[in-house]
């Protein structure tokens, strides 16, 4: 059968992916460069009988998403840097209460209105550390329009499977550029649906910290009455101040993600086999990096790239394995240095260099190539 190919914008691909994934509910608050996600869904979702809400702010948007998700909805919100900051308390709440949801952050630079229409990769650390307390998080960094669509579907699946917020971090470049997208056939992709627990209501506990299995979140209103609270709670969902319960609950929030890392991780390697210089790049920066690597290779410098697609949890294992054989690592980022710290943490004796551009312009292949040349001489 002929492939269903479309030309679309990154933000449009996210909206498309959400619909394919079975998104039932969107609540958001406008912010450039993410607003197209909301605008497109404001038309798409009502047409298929689903809910679209523009809320009074980003906090309300994520609150509504979590309320709907507790009712069993596959729910989505989209924002950018400052809106992401406002959502942080609810991201912590969703993690603690294990409520699935997908949060799109089309990254831009600076506070309040910062650099609203220009690209940056300012929120990678915010995505991991922005909220209070401890919890693991899943974050995904697509680098093309096509990938935006497929990774949105994967984000919904991971959210339901692991009962966790999943963040998608794109940037203004990916969000606004137009590229070819292959619209998948329903039969070609996996969709994980919200389902009722396998046990009757009287046997249902909303949490499970011990068996290693993620308990399905029973949609409210279907006979499973339970309590949800941000207070540290035991497996019954009711608050507890017992030290072992608290520790178990905290461990579980980490373990359910880190112990399943093989299922969650995703990355791409590009010409790393014989590389002397390794680039670690994500999102739109990985596109310039790819170009720069080809320039370097034609000049006889063996460069390669590791591209995290799942950026949180961070691909520690892969970076440390690569750094055992590649002694020079370059991390180009449209920020003052965020992922570089993760790379340094995992670099086994390699030298790690940064290339940080935050002037509102994308990092060009030339800039990266120049840096590669410089490093190759060290």
């Amino acid at each position: 059968m002929a492939k269903n190919i479309k030309l679309m914008q990154g933000n449009e691909a996210i909206a498309e992916g959400a619909v394919i994934a079975g998104c039932d509910f969107f609540a958001g608050y406008p912010i450039t460069p993410s607003s197209e996600v909301a605008e497109i869904l404001s038309s798409k979702l009502p047409k298929i009988g689903k809910v679209f809400l523009q809320m009074e702010d980003e906090i309300a948007a994520l609150g509504a998403v979590l309320g709907a998700a507790l009712g069993g909805a596959k729910a989505l919100t989209a924002t950018s840097g400052p809106g992401m900051s406002l959502k942080q308390e609810h991201i912590g709440y969703a993690s603690m209460c294990e409520i699935p949801c997908v949060i799109i952050n089309v990254m831009r630079g600076g506070p309040s209105t910062g650099l609203p229409t220009l690209p940056a990769q300012g929120d990678v650390m915010q995505a991991k550390w922005g909220t209070h307390g401890d919890h693991a998080i899943i974050a995904i960094t697509p680098s093309s329009v096509n990938e935006s669509l497929y990774e949105t579907i994967r984000a919904f699946n991971l959210a339901v499977k692991y009962r966790t917020p999943v963040l998608i971090l794109t940037d203004e470049i990916i969000g606004h550029m137009r590229e070819k997208v292959v619209i998948p056939d329903k039969s070609d992709i996996e969709i994980i649906d919200v389902k009722l627990p396998g046990v009757p209501p009287e046997k249902y506990n909303p949490y499970n910290y011990t068996s290693g299995e993620v308990t399905p979140l029973a949609p409210m209103g279907e006979g499973y009455r339970y309590h949800v609270t941000g207070l540290i709670h035991g497996e019954t969902g009711f608050p507890s101040q017992k030290t072992d319960v608290i520790q178990n609950a905290q461990n579980w929030l980490m373990d359910k993600i880190y112990k399943n890392i093989k299922d969650i991780e995703k990355f791409e390697e590009f010409q790393t086999e014989d590389a002397d210089i390794l680039l670690v790049a994500y999102g739109s920066t990985s596109r310039s990096s790819r170009q720069a690597i080809m320039m370097a290779r034609s000049a006889g410098i063996k460069a390669g790239m590791f591209r995290p697609i799942t950026i949180w949890p961070f691909p520690d294992e892969q970076i440390s394995a690569l750094s055992k054989k590649i002694k020079k690592i370059l991390v180009p980022e449209m920020n003052m240095g965020q992922v570089i710290f993760e790379v340094q943490r995992n670099a086994c004796g390699s030298s790690v260099y940064g290339l940080n551009v935050v002037n509102g312009e994308p990092i060009t292949p030339d800039q990266i190539y120049e840096k590669i040349k410089e490093i190759s001489k060290i």
Binding site: F25, P46, L53, D57, A60, G67, A68, R225, F238
Partner: protein, 275 residues
């Protein structure tokens, strides 16, 4: 006629008791009125969702056997809107303190009212931040003391009911934890109303508020409620001077038949489909 005793056990999660409220706190009276009201309305427990924010009042949902969500400070209405819009058949009730509903949650309060979404909001109004030890609240009377207004508050308080009505709520009422029978009646009325209903319940916190304001015991606070409450009808014949320092009770505003957000949304969906 012999009145049979109401069986609260039907609705209480006994494993979560005792509750955290101080002996003499008004919140328990409101809880009991709410359970009687829900029972009168005849809802199935599976169809009731109660959301709450953070504070003493907001601990209520943990004790009752419904679908309960103890959310974040001030944001309970946002969760309520989410689940109501997704599953309109559910009866959604939100419990909030005065600080929760009107300070940190003030924006959500006015927007929920503006939308006239079919949710019942019950504000446990004790003029203070009970849970955090009695700081100044947006409903605290001018001149009263709190841990952050040690010289007396100079901030004019919100009138919860006026604010709700002005913002678009279509059922607005006020009662107190002293008027437990009236409270139950108003709750039934608010729950039966289609649209955003706001019930302001003046309640007593002798621990964080009363003892700093010459009402050391629950008894003094209950007396205050009894004496300061003015039924709306009586208030009509009173001057502003007469009403100073007092508050109106009653169903203060009711407008049936206004477009309700959830219904309008799904009506819109139908109209799109048929095009």
């Amino acid at each position: 006629m012999i009145k049979t005793k109401f069986d609260y056990n039907k609705y209480l999660r006994k494993n979560t008791l005792p509750h955290i409220w101080c002996p003499g706190c008004g919140d328990g009276i409101i809880l009991k009125s709410l359970l009687r009201a829900i029972d009168k309305c005849g809802y199935s427990k599976d169809d009731v969702v109660i959301t709450s924010g953070i504070g003493c009042a907001s601990r209520l949902p943990g004790y009752v056997d419904f679908n309960t969500i103890h959310t974040t400070h001030g944001r309970a209405l946002t969760f309520a809107i989410g689940i109501k819009m997704f599953k309109p058949r559910l009866k959604v009730i939100t419990i909030s303190g005065d600080g929760d509903a009107l300070a940190i949650g003030g924006n959500h309060f006015i927007h929920a009212a503006r939308r006239n979404i079919d949710i019942t909001l019950i504000v446990f109004n004790n003029y203070t931040y009970g849970m955090t030890g009695g700081q100044c609240s947006p409903t605290q009377p001018v001149g009263s003391l709190s841990t952050t207004t040690p010289f007396g508050s100079i901030e004019p308080p919100f009138d919860v009911c006026n604010l709700a009505q002005a913002a678009g709520a279509t059922w607005v009422g006020r009662s107190t934890s002293y008027h437990a029978v009236q409270l139950e009646k108003f709750m039934v009325d608010a729950l039966n109303h289609t649209g955003f209903s706001v019930l302001d319940v003046i309640t007593n916190c002798h621990i964080s508020y009363g003892r700093r304001n010459k009402m050391k015991s629950p008894v003094e606070m209950i007396k205050y409620q009894k004496e300061k409450a003015v039924p709306a009808r009586s208030a009509e014949n009173m001057t502003p001077e007469d009403l100073a320092g007092r508050f109106k009770t009653g169903i203060l505003f009711e407008k049936a038949g206004s477009p309700e957000f959830c219904t309008e949304y799904y009506k819109k969906l139908e109209s799109i489909k048929t095009k």
